[in-house]
Every structure is written in structure tokens, then in C-alpha cells.
């Protein structure tokens, strides 16, 4: 298998070639968003320079080009996750995908129905369900995490019951880096209750590991382009075609209809009935360019590179006195997302001093407050690596952390 050359990859990302506070930028905030390669920037620029038009509406040349590119992006996206083209709904991101889905599914929920989530969910896979639970009287249950920051799989046989309508879980935790055995969990859930609708939040997995919806056995899956070197403001909701047929759209308007009279409307078929209004064509074009870029590197090689960085990162962070890693210390089934706390230092202070070393990380609760409550933490720092990061970047992170500890007198 070909090995990735992070230095060469870095040169594809113009933003990374700059100094921050007189240091080479070391960008380790990829869990929040990734940077964009020239291939993506140019695809968007070319689209607006040559092909921009509204889609599916006019007969002129530009409209035709825009429509073809938009639909081509759908095909590329479908291929990337092993779906059929008509199963790909473009949204504005994971949050939008999940909200649209939850609000469409709520008509199938009633009092006493059960929704199963996990303790490591991002707020975007918690809050919409809470809203719907309040509205419908459905009940939310939680798959707990173990002391090794993994899902406690022994609880699934008890949590999934005949009342379970929904199982919605993250593939990769944006805080812990844990890669969940989603396929096995869905399989077990469906063996207990075959009507369970299985939903995967793939915001952090699509960039890191090869994701195939057929293999996972999920009914729906959501992700954002911007976390996979694509543009902000565009995302994907995958839905199994036979489920999309009966799913009611909750955003309505132009572009998603077949016929509208004063009294009634006939919706177009999926995926169009879920895409009301003028779509983000440039976003879809950018997403297609991003997925094509990743495909050229191959997801297998990316997976290997991510694993190597996880091994090295854990090894190096483990050597830092007073640093506590919030996540499994076993690199197996783990992404290079390193949350940590440092004795005697607040995440904000750590982030600020790291920034003065040109190292970009994030601090806070990372939109996962229930998880932090469970871990009895107020917040943590998080360094998250991606394809352009090298072992040297991890070294620079460690240097900056040690410098920060020295300033605070907590280095010994």
C-alpha cells in the first residue's frame, strides 16, 4: 500500500504555508474543521468563473452545466460512501442533516417510544432528539461509556427493546477519538428489533476511515464537507431509498415539487423532495472535489496515516508530566483526536500559549456537554490531526505544551 507523504500533501493546502506569531503554523484543530486543498479552492472558483447558474430550472447552457455538475457531485458522493445516487440528499452540514431527518421522523414517533443515543454524542445528535422527545413523549436512553472511553457494548442487549424506534450514534467521537464498532452495534440492535431505524453521525469518520453505508447496515448517515477538506455550508444526508419514499419532507418550497395547485402539492421524488430552494451548487462541486482528492490518496492510506499519528501522538503525550489524556491510550480503533487536561492549567491558557508557538488547538467542552459531565470535567484541550500533519507537528505540539507548563510552574 502506498504511504502518504504529509509534506507533499501540505503543499496542496495554501493556508498552511504561513507563520503565526513567527512560527510555522501547526494546524491541529481538524476536529473543528479541516483546511482546503487547491483542488477544492479551484473547483469552487472555476464553478463561479465559468459555470454558475441555478439548477434544474432553465434551458440555457449555464443552467445545463450547473445542473450536470451538481448531479455529478451527487454521484461522486454516493460512490464515496457506497450508496446509490438517489440516496444522497445535499444539506448544509451534519447538523442540518440530523435536524431535517429528526423532524421528518417525528411523525413516526409516539409516547413511550424509545430513542437510543450514546454518552459520547455531539450536541447536534442530542438536542434535536430532545426537542422531538418533548413533543412526542418519546423517551431517550443512553449507551454508557466504559473507563477506557469506549461504548459499553454489554448494555446494548438491555437498552434495545421492542419499544426502540431509533438508534442514533456517532461513528467517531470528536472528543475521545474512539472509533465505535457501529456495524456490530447496528447488527445487534436489529437482531433484537428489526424495525429499529439506525442513524450514524459520520461527521468525524468520513474524513478518517473508509465508510460504506451498505457494510455498516445503517438506514441514515450524516456528514459535513468541511471536516473532509471540503467547503463549509454543505453536507450530506444519506437515506436508504426504500425509507426515503415514505419520509415526509419538512422543508418545502421551490425545486422539490412536481405540481402545485392552490390547494395541494405533489412532491418530487427523493432526493429532490428534500432539497427545497436553490441548492448550494458551488458547495456540492467543492465537496465532490474534496472527495475526489481524498480518493486519490485512497482512504486505506489515509486510515494507515491516521493510525500512525494516533500511535505517535499517544506515545508522545504520555511522556508529558501532569498531562492527562481524555480518551483510550490504546491506538486500536482510535482516531488522532487527542483531548487532554494539564494539572494546574486551564484549557484557555494552554490554547493561548500554544498559539504563541504557532500551534492551533481547541479548548472547551467541544459541543459534548453531557460527555464532559459524565467524565466530571469542565473542559479539555483538544489537538486533532489530519492528512497534512506529520510527526514533527506532534513534536512541535509537545514542545509548546512543555513551554506552557514551564510558564505556569507546573512542569515538574
Amino acid at each position: 500500500m502506498n504511504k502518504l507523504n504529509s509534506q507533499k500533501i501540505k503543499s496542496d493546502f495554501p493556508i498552511l504555508n504561513q507563520k503565526i506569531n513567527r512560527h510555522d503554523l501547526v494546524y491541529l484543530d481538524n476536529g473543528a474543521t479541516t483546511q482546503k486543498p487547491n483542488a477544492v479552492i479551484n473547483a469552487i472558483s472555476n464553478y463561479y468563473s465559468h459555470d454558475n447558474s441555478n439548477t434544474h430550472r432553465s434551458v440555457h447552457e449555464l443552467a445545463s452545466r450547473a445542473t450536470i455538475q451538481y448531479e455529478h457531485a451527487r454521484t461522486i458522493t454516493a460512490k464515496f460512501i457506497g450508496a446509490k445516487t438517489e440516496e444522497i440528499i445535499f444539506t448544509s452540514g451534519t447538523t442540518d442533516s440530523l435536524n431535517k431527518l429528526v423532524n421528518s421522523l417525528k411523525h413516526q414517533l409516539k409516547k413511550g417510544d424509545e430513542i437510543v443515543l450514546t454518552e459520547m454524542e455531539h450536541h447536534s445528535n442530542i438536542v434535536p432528539w430532545q426537542q422531538v422527545a418533548k413533543e412526542t413523549g418519546a423517551v431517550i436512553k443512553w449507551i454508557p461509556i466504559t473507563d477506557d472511553f469506549r461504548l459499553d457494548l454489554t448494555t446494548i442487549s438491555k437498552l434495545i427493546t421492542t419499544k426502540t424506534k431509533i438508534l442514533s450514534l456517532t461513528h467517531v467521537s470528536n472528543v475521545l477519538g474512539t472509533i465505535n464498532p457501529v456495524k456490530e452495534i447496528i447488527k445487534e440492535a436489529k437482531s433484537i428489533n428489526q424495525n429499529v431505524i439506525a442513524i450514524v453521525d459520520a461527521a468525524q469518520s468520513v474524513p478518517h476511515i473508509s465508510v460504506n453505508v451498505t457494510d455498516l447496515g445503517c438506514d441514515f448517515l450524516a456528514f459535513s464537507a468541511h471536516k473532509a477538506v471540503g467547503p463549509m455550508g454543505v453536507g450530506v444526508l444519506f437515506g436508504k431509498s426504500q425509507l426515503l419514499v415514505n419520509l415526509e419532507p419538512n422543508h418545502t418550497g421551490g425545486g422539490m415539487v412536481l405540481e402545485v395547485t392552490k390547494d395541494n402539492t405533489t412532491f418530487n421524488q427523493a432526493p429532490y423532495k428534500f432539497e427545497a430552494g436553490t441548492p448550494n451548487v458551488a458547495g456540492a462541486v467543492g465537496l465532490a472535489a474534496a472527495l475526489t482528492y481524498l480518493s486519490k490518496l485512497t482512504m486505506n492510506a489515509i486510515e494507515q496515516q491516521m493510525h500512525d499519528l494516533t500511535v505517535y501522538g499517544l506515545e508522545q503525550l504520555n511522556t508529558v508530566h501532569g498531562l492527562n489524556i481524555i480518551g483510550s491510550k490504546d491506538a486500536k480503533n482510535r482516531a488522532p483526536v487527542f483531548s487532554f487536561t494539564i494539572k494546574g492549567m486551564h484549557p484557555h491558557d494552554i490554547g493561548e500559549i500554544l498559539n504563541s508557538h504557532g500551534v492551533a488547538i481547541r479548548g472547551g467542552h467541544h459541543c459534548a456537554m453531557p460527555l464532559f459531565k459524565r467524565l466530571k470535567l469542565n473542559g479539555a484541550s483538544r489537538a486533532s490531526a489530519y492528512i497534512y500533519n506529520s510527526k514533527e507537528d506532534i513534536d512541535q505540539l509537545i514542545v509548546a505544551i512543555k513551554a506552557a507548563q514551564k510558564i505556569f510552574g507546573v512542569d515538574k
Binding site: H23, D24, E352, H357, G364, D395, Q396, K402, A403
Partner: protein, 138 residues
Amino acid sequence: MNIANPTDLSTSQLTEEQEIYKENIIDHYKHPRNKKKLENATHKENGINPMCGDHITIYLIIKDNKIEEITFTGDGCAISQASVSLLTDELLGKDLDFAKKITDQNVYDLLGIPISHTRTKCALLSIKTVQKAINLNQ
């Protein structure tokens, strides 16, 4: 970048952040002044920055328009905690009018370090909470 010998780097480049984190700030963070609960406070107020988790409680004993006692409890980043430690020192024994007139700039001056845009909330939690305590409970 000196990757071969990373430890050299950390010592040679301390000056920049020492600017941001002057010893005085670290000292107030690690050894806060006036950090205790006041059971007989006449005025008390909580302040919180929900996004970063900084939180403080201010306790005051005010008599004849004068701050006879001012203490705090809380937790958070160095800037937020040093700010409240410094501010309580500054306000002890002063008139209420003095406390009401304290500006954001006065607090930055007390801290004596450059405060970046993202940290203004941390720096100002102290004065916002004190002024809320005074104004709300009058």
C-alpha cells in the same frame, strides 16, 4: 524548527508568552488574594462564561457606601481568576462610586498584559459580576 532537540526550543522562546502571562498574573492565579466565602455578605452575585466554564461568586460587605469586605470563590482560566483577584484587592476599602466607575480599560490596566479579542470575556468577568452585585442589590 528545531525538531532534533525540542527542549532547546522551549527555553529559547519563552519571552513571547511571558509577555502574555506575566509573573504577576501567574502569581495571582496560583495564589489568589481574597479567595474565600463571606457568610455575612450584604451583597453576593454569580458570574459565568458558559462557553469556557469560567465561573466566580463575588461576596461584598457594604456599609455606608463603602466596600468594607470583598471576596470571591470560583474557578477558571488564569486571566479570569487573576483579574478577580486583582480587582478585589483594588476595591477593598473603596467607595461604591469608585467601583461603579471602573471601566474595561481599568481592568486591562490592572492586569497589565495584552488581552486578545477572544479573552476579553475572561478578563472582564470580574468587573461585570462586581458591578452587577452592586447595582442589583442596592
